[in-house]
């Protein structure tokens, strides 16, 4: 329904650069997750696309058309704010019905009731419909805020950490639900999160932001398996990728100063000797904290492992990632 494209978009707040020359195309119907630490510019991108903020330079195209002259209302998008932004003087029901009462939609009253009930059901807040918005817990407010976006059928969803204050069970329920709704509506989604499970399971594309620059854009697998830098590689993966000096292991290419090891890059058997530190049994997997001399690394092993603290074992890297002194990836065979 909508392709969103950012062309050389820059934005500063005072002397704080929020976005620098970001060019990115969000294909129609795709689910794009923006990753990056606080202050990387994720929320700024959402606000630009929504039309709440205007870029200092560059263009935002929606379906190939320059959106600069379009108000937020004209862009037909729905936004979930990080701080919820519920209407405090209205009940949950009135909050959810608010977007439907837009004269642009002219929804009949009985349909409003039906839609609000359906959304409340999905988000498991039916029992709170008549509460005031201010009488809710953080997680409930967040769900109302998602509900306000879901009641109508916008062409673009913009969600700023929409599941951050929910408990684990609800979060995994809603992850599936959001993905389902987005797919069935065929709406384009721009989604900000810190949660790597959300990124890996929901996204069709991931954009990695670093201090306002888009450093990598691709499918979650691409970002995971083929990161352009240490920074990109560190965004995905649990446990986090281990970055060690390249010279510890034989076979480092020219110019490589760091080696990046994910658990699947670690082949236990022979090679460099390591000491087992902590062993964390998580049930479905076991996390091993290893020590090579003074260096720490973490990997996964069999859930029923017999290893304990103080054991020694040996391993060799298998198809690891190499990075140069600037943290840029060195591709082998290139």
């Amino acid at each position: 329904m909508a392709e969103v494209s950012l062309q050389n978009v820059s934005k500063s707040f005072g002397d704080q650069v929020a976005l620098e020359n970001v060019t990115m195309t969000v294909p129609d119907g795709s689910f794009v997750v923006l990753l990056g630490p606080t202050g990387a510019g994720k929320t700024t991108i959402l606000r630009m696309v929504s039309g709440l903020d205007k870029p200092d330079s560059g263009q935002i195209l929606i379906n190939g058309e320059d959106a600069a002259s379009q108000s937020p209302a004209e862009r037909n998008m729905a936004m979930v704010f990080q701080q919820y932004s519920l209407y405090p003087h209205l009940s949950v029901r009135q909050n959810l019905a608010f977007p439907l009462k837009s004269p642009m939609l002219r929804t009949p009253e009985d349909e409003i009731i039906r839609k609000v009930d359906a959304v409340a059901e999905t988000l498991q807040i039916s029992h709170k419909l008549d509460n005031k918005a201010t009488e809710l817990s953080g997680g409930e407010m967040q769900r109302v805020s998602i509900g306000r976006a879901l009641v109508r059928k916008p062409q673009i969803f913009l969600m700023d950490e929409p599941l951050s204050s929910l408990d684990a069970k609800l979060r995994s329920d809603l992850r599936i639900e959001l993905k389902r709704i987005q797919a069935s509506l065929g709406a384009t989604m721009l989604y900000v999160t810190h949660d790597q499970v959300e990124a890996m399971t929901m996204a069709t594309h991931v954009g990695v932001l670093d201090h306002g620059k888009l450093v990598q854009f691709g499918s979650p697998r691409e970002i995971y398996e083929d990161p352009v830098s240490i920074y990109s590689a560190s965004r995905l993966g649990s446990p986090k990728i281990n970055i060690l000096p390249a010279e510890i292991f034989p076979g480092a290419p020219n110019g490589a100063t760091s080696i990046g090891l994910r658990p699947e890059h670690i082949s236990i058997g022979e090679g460099v000797e390591v000491k087992v530190g902590r062993v964390e049994h998580l049930g479905d997997q076991t996390r091993l904290h290893l020590k090579i001399g003074e260096l720490d690394l973490m990997t996964l092993t069999d859930p029923h492992t017999k290893l304990t603290r103080g054991d020694t074992l040996s391993f060799l890297p298998r198809n690891p990632l190499y990075f140069d002194a600037n943290g840029v990836r060195i591709k082998l065979g290139a």
Binding site: P72, M77, M79, F81, S85, P88, H89, S102, K132, R148
Partner: protein
């Protein structure tokens, strides 16, 4: 043995109450020591006069005569409530109350709405707008009598400038029909800033993000104003109305300076009427009954209003 030890420990750790160390007084006694003086003061200057006034209202006591007062039952009340002049006073007060509140809310809210738009120098404008409120009512009353002067008054000149009506052809405080409006205009001029300040506090309490959400929910500016701004400022606005209502019900100084209740008794507000009965005609008993009636009226209206205000806040 192992149980006894921690108990001893706790007992030792609890410090003796401060009160017990202060000359053997209990906590309660110390509390009374603090509240006592204010309670005595309150009784002396508020509660006792109130009760005494109620008592006097059933007598024909005159404060300038030495003879003993007689109890005359409800006669004072009967005379006040059937007196046409009193009712005229009440009407003048109602007119004054209604229109001052109406204009002050309307203009005060509009000004607050404009000032709240972030523009250059809005702090300076706020200060300028608030100035009238800082003046003494007596001073305001005095210089408005000059502004209202038919020959040299700026007000009449401005009216002439805009409407073409001859400046010297009318007198705001001399005319029976215009005088009630003259006091409304001055009070509005003086106290609109107060309403504006309270509305401004209300407007500033609404976070920008609410409007951003509404913007995304495709609500027009018009709808945002009526469904978000107005309901969220309403409790503040109602509070301003309460303050202004109570203040203007007992309005005295400004109007006395401006019109002295005239011409005739067209601007004779109840508080001025009451003062004349009490301290010019010295009908103390009668005036006491009058005061009780006014008190009950204000108190009753204010209680109903505060209930409504709380309901709005709870919404």
């Amino acid at each position: 043995m192992s149980i006894k030890k921690p108990v001893e420990h706790i007992a030792k750790a609890t410090p003796p109450s401060i009160a017990r160390r202060v000359r053997g007084l209990s906590d309660r006694a110390i509390a009374w020591l603090f509240v006592g003086p204010s309670i005595v003061l309150l009784l002396a200057v508020n509660i006792f006069p109130l009760i005494w006034t109620i008592n006097l209202s059933f007598t024909n006591f005159k404060a300038n005569r030495l003879r003993d007062a007689e109890y005359i039952g409800l006669r004072n009340y009967e005379r006040i409530l059937t007196d046409a002049d009193t009712w005229q006073s009440m009407q003048a007060t109602a007119h004054f109350l209604f229109w001052t509140i109406f204009f002050q809310v309307l203009i005060g809210f509009a000004l607050a709405y404009l000032i709240n738009k972030k523009f250059k120098g809005n702090d300076l404008w706020t200060t300028i707008i608030v100035l009238p409120m800082m003046l003494s009512p007596a001073v305001v009353g005095n210089f408005w009598t000059f502004l209202y002067q038919p020959q040299i008054g700026l007000f009449n000149y401005v009216v002439q400038f805009f409407t073409g009506v001859e400046a010297s052809s009318f007198s705001m405080i001399g005319s029976v029909t215009l005088a009630p409006w003259a006091i409304v205009i001055v009070d509005t001029w003086m106290w609109t800033p107060f309403v504006m300040l309270i509305c401004l506090a209300g407007l500033r309490s609404i976070p920008d993000s609410i409007y951003e959400a509404a913007e995304c929910d495709r609500a027009s500016k018009w709808r945002q104003f009526w469904t978000l701004t107005v309901p969220m400022v309403l409790p503040f606005l109602m509070l301003a109305v309460l303050f202004r209502g109570i203040e203007n019900f007992k309005m005295f100084d400004l109007v006395v300076q401006l019109t002295g209740g005239g011409p005739g008794s067209t601007t004779l507000l109840t508080s001025i009427d009451l003062k004349r009965e009490a301290f010019e005609k010295w009908r103390t008993g009668y005036a006491s009954a009058y005061a009780v009636i006014l008190f009950v009226t204000v108190f009753g209206l204010a209680s109903i209003y505060v209930k409504a205000l709380n309901k709005v806040k709870e919404r």
